[in-house]
């Protein structure tokens, strides 16, 4: 799916997210009782898992797009998709589907949602210096998707843990006492009266488990972060994929180094700082993989001109806003 199509699909994604929110049966128990014709039991389980992964990811992507808004630049979105898909093709999971879009946020960050929905912020594209750095970052995100880091983290949670994570996320956004006094009871979707909703929404393939998992996933993406070892793994894999794709090996290290200097200069703390391990530790992990791959002997493409040409409208817009 190309970027332009993904842009057009955002409305569908949002509607899908809304439908999911009205659903009423558990994701984790939503396994097909008997395999579809022509599928073995194992194949059916794989298909069920894939559907669930896509549902959770679509819901999360919809929430991120709703929260940040989409940065609408068809040319730039196409370019991000082109680079991202090329890196993914050279990764360990080339047969998975990946879709890339740009979030309208100044803060440099990228999000990998299950099912292949990868969202990068406008701020990240502004901070990146060339295509090689972008490729390594997108490689990092495709590694998260390919290795199902987020989905596995959510799946490993028990239903109670998912509910707890959801409740914690809700508590962090807890409204003030006056708003709480106005809040009405949370509808009980398991009552017999909800039978109609079940009937109407089961057809959409979504469930309350999807909604809960997506909410818990948002907590991981925006507040808690994944396990730090998974982040190191994504860094190592991302660098590997980018090198395989022919890019300059040290691009991600250079980007992180520059980012660290900027942070020292401005003394600011972003979502990425909260959800990722410290930059020095990440650079150490990247150095290990570069050593193993003999990166010093590899001459990769930087793609400075192509990158600058693609983001020219973004920078021009930024300059206009400064004026």
């Amino acid at each position: 799916m190309d970027g332009a199509l993904f842009s057009r699909c955002n409305v569908v994604v949002l509607i899908g997210a809304l439908f999911a929110s009205a659903s009423s049966c558990s994701l984790w128990s939503k396994k097909t009782e008997s395999p579809e014709p022509g599928l073995s039991k194992e194949e059916q389980l794989f298909l069920d898992d894939y559907k669930a992964e896509v549902e959770v990811g679509r819901n999360m992507a919809g929430r991120l797009l709703t929260f940040y808004g989409e940065y609408l630049d068809e040319g730039l979105t196409d370019y991000i998709n082109e680079v991202g898909l090329y890196v993914a093709k050279n990764g360990d999971y080339p047969n998975k589907k990946y879709m890339f879009a740009i979030l309208d946020s100044d803060s440099p960050n990228a999000f990998a949602c299950p099912g292949g929905y990868i969202l990068v912020t406008r701020g990240l594209i502004e901070d990146v210096a060339n295509e090689a750095e972008l490729a390594a970052i997108l490689g990092h995100e495709t590694a998260h998707v390919g290795k199902q880091h987020m989905f596995n983290a959510l799946r490993s949670m028990s239903k109670q843990e998912v509910e707890k994570a959801e409740a914690e996320a809700a508590a962090r956004k807890r409204p003030d006492k006056y708003s709480r006094a106005r809040a009405r009871p949370k509808p009980d979707v398991n009552e017999s009266g909800s039978a109609l909703a079940k009937l109407l929404t089961t057809a959409s393939g979504a469930g309350l488990g999807v909604l809960q998992a997506a909410k818990a996933g948002m907590g991981l993406l925006l507040e808690k972060g994944l396990d730090k070892n998974l982040e190191y793994e994504a860094d190592r894999e991302g660098v590997k994929y980018a090198i395989r794709a022919g890019y300059e090996p040290k691009a991600l290290d250079q980007f992180l180094s520059r980012l660290a200097q900027e942070k020292i200069k401005h003394n600011d703390k972003t979502v990425m700082d909260v959800t990722h391990p410290p930059i020095p530790d990440r650079r150490k992990a990247i150095a290990d993989v570069l050593n193993k791959m003999g990166a010093d002997k590899i001459i990769g493409a930087v793609g400075k001109e192509r990158f600058e040409a693609a983001r020219v409208s973004l920078l021009a817009k930024g300059k206009e806003e400064v004026k």
Binding site: G69, K177, Y178, A181, R182, R184, P185, K186, E191, S194
Partner: protein, 425 residues
């Protein structure tokens, strides 16, 4: 009743022995008094006692200050509601027989959206609502035969009327316990009445034909201010005011009268025009309080006041003059289960039209209603549907016979069946 003044156009009051020479036309809908249709999904269920709550899209109408307390982004609408109204004019026919008029139909009472605008300014909420404030649809054909000296009386009356508004509003949370809001909107009243009457006496020597057409189109702008304050965690007090100005008003009344008395033919055509019949738009003030007793229970009450306005052009009949009027409402919402709230309300719908006086003629009906509402809703995550009824019972006074000073009492019964849905996102 208020079609035209017999004195002004020289209507000869013939046939005094029969007090049904000419029934007045149906009453004009009340363009200035907004309690005939209760706006909003939750608000309708609670009898319109919503000024102290107003935290959904209907807050645009009740109190824009309440928008600041929005719980979520909402889109809300009422499907076509069905309404029916029956008026019984006691002993209006020859002083012995009741006269009945009925109207009914469907209309779209409310549509509203509300969006939190925190990205523009933390605490800012925007809303838009379209609402029907009053509606009438009447198609009545009446035939009376052989009543004393009356051989035949035939009356065909048609009326369509709608008063509706479209308003945008902004609410802003000044502090955790205080919200303020402003609204700006458009209001339109559009009404057409056509009545044709024919009368024959049993002697065959008297005939009366009367055909009247009345139209009113007025539109204008309204501005509103609102404030909502929570003096305690579970209590909210709201106050809002709204007024405006008509940009255009057009009233046209045409009448053709033909009378034959023992071979003598009298014709009395008449036309009356006004470009300022309604005068000013009344000031409207609402005050309300809500008690959020528990997550399952809310009790709320409202008082609203409409300022008096004076008919500008009808020097004789003053059909658009309105008295100041005070109404109140009390409502409650209780969650029977966490998914099924029930809403009920009691409200008054006192008429702003002056009470007919026996020293004048051709005055409009005055009917004071008391109403109850009962709605049941079904809530699911992020969405809610509700259905229920509003029943109003009224009593009042009319001057149903044109040119006569006699008054009749009125019994009225109106009910509305409503279906609404809200989706939060």
């Amino acid at each position: 009743m208020k079609m035209f003044s017999p004195g002004r156009i020289g209507w000869p009051v013939v046939l005094p022995v029969i007090c049904i020479a000419s029934m007045a036309s149906p009453a004009l809908a009340d363009q200035m008094h907004y309690r005939n249709v209760i706006t909003g999904e939750r608000a309708q269920g609670m009898g319109g006692a919503y000024t102290g709550i107003s935290d959904d899209a209907s807050g645009v109408f009740y109190n824009p200050g309440g928008l600041a307390f929005a719980q979520s982004n909402d889109i809300s609408g009422s499907a076509n509601a069905f309404y029916s109204k029956k008026m019984t004019y006691k002993k209006a026919v020859l002083g012995v027989e009741d006269w009945k008029e009925e109207s009914g139909g469907t209309f779209a009472p409310f549509f509203g959206v509300m969006q939190k605008l925190d990205r523009l300014m933390p605490g800012l909420v925007g809303g838009f609502a379209y609402y029907t404030l009053d509606t009438e649809l009447k198609d009545q054909d009446s035939l009376l035969l052989n009543r004393g000296s009356l051989a035949r009386y035939h009356r065909a009356a048609n009326q369509r009327a709608a008063t509706f508004g479209a308003t945008g509003a902004l609410g802003y949370r000044v502090s955790s316990s205080l919200g303020i809001g402003v609204s700006a909107g458009y209001l339109k009243a559009d009404e057409l009445i056509q009545v044709s009457q024919n009368y024959f006496t049993s002697s065959g020597s008297n005939y009366l034909m009367r055909s009247v057409r009345e139209s009113l189109v007025a539109h204008g702008a309204q501005l509103g201010l609102g404030i909502q304050w929570a003096p305690a965690t579970q209590v909210s007090i709201g106050l809002s005011a709204r007024t405006g100005s008509y940009a255009s008003q057009k009233y046209l009344q045409t009448a053709d009268n033909l009378q034959i008395d023992n071979g003598t033919i009298t014709s009395a055509p008449n036309e009356f025009k006004s470009n300022n019949p309604l005068g000013s738009m009344p000031l409207e003030i609402r005050a309300g309080a809500a008690w959020f007793a528990s997550p399952r229970l809310i009790v709320t009450t409202d008082v609203d006041y409409h300022e008096a306005v004076t008919d500008m052009d009808h020097s004789t009949s003053k059909i658009f003059t309105r008295d100041s009027v005070l109404n109140y409402a009390i409502g409650t919402e209780y969650y029977l289960t966490s998914s099924i709230p029930i809403r009920a309300g009691y409200f008054t719908n006192n008429d702003a039209t002056p009470m007919p006086s026996s020293s004048k003629t051709d005055q409009p009906d005055h009917v004071d209603y008391k109403g109850v509402t009962l709605f049941l809703a079904w809530a699911q995550p992020n969405s809610q549907v509700s259905a229920g009824a509003v029943v109003q019972k009224g009593t009042g006074k009319s001057q149903k016979v044109a040119g006569e000073k006699a008054t009749q009492s009125i019994d009225a019964l109106a009910y509305t069946l409503g279906f609404s849905a809200t989706h939060s996102f």
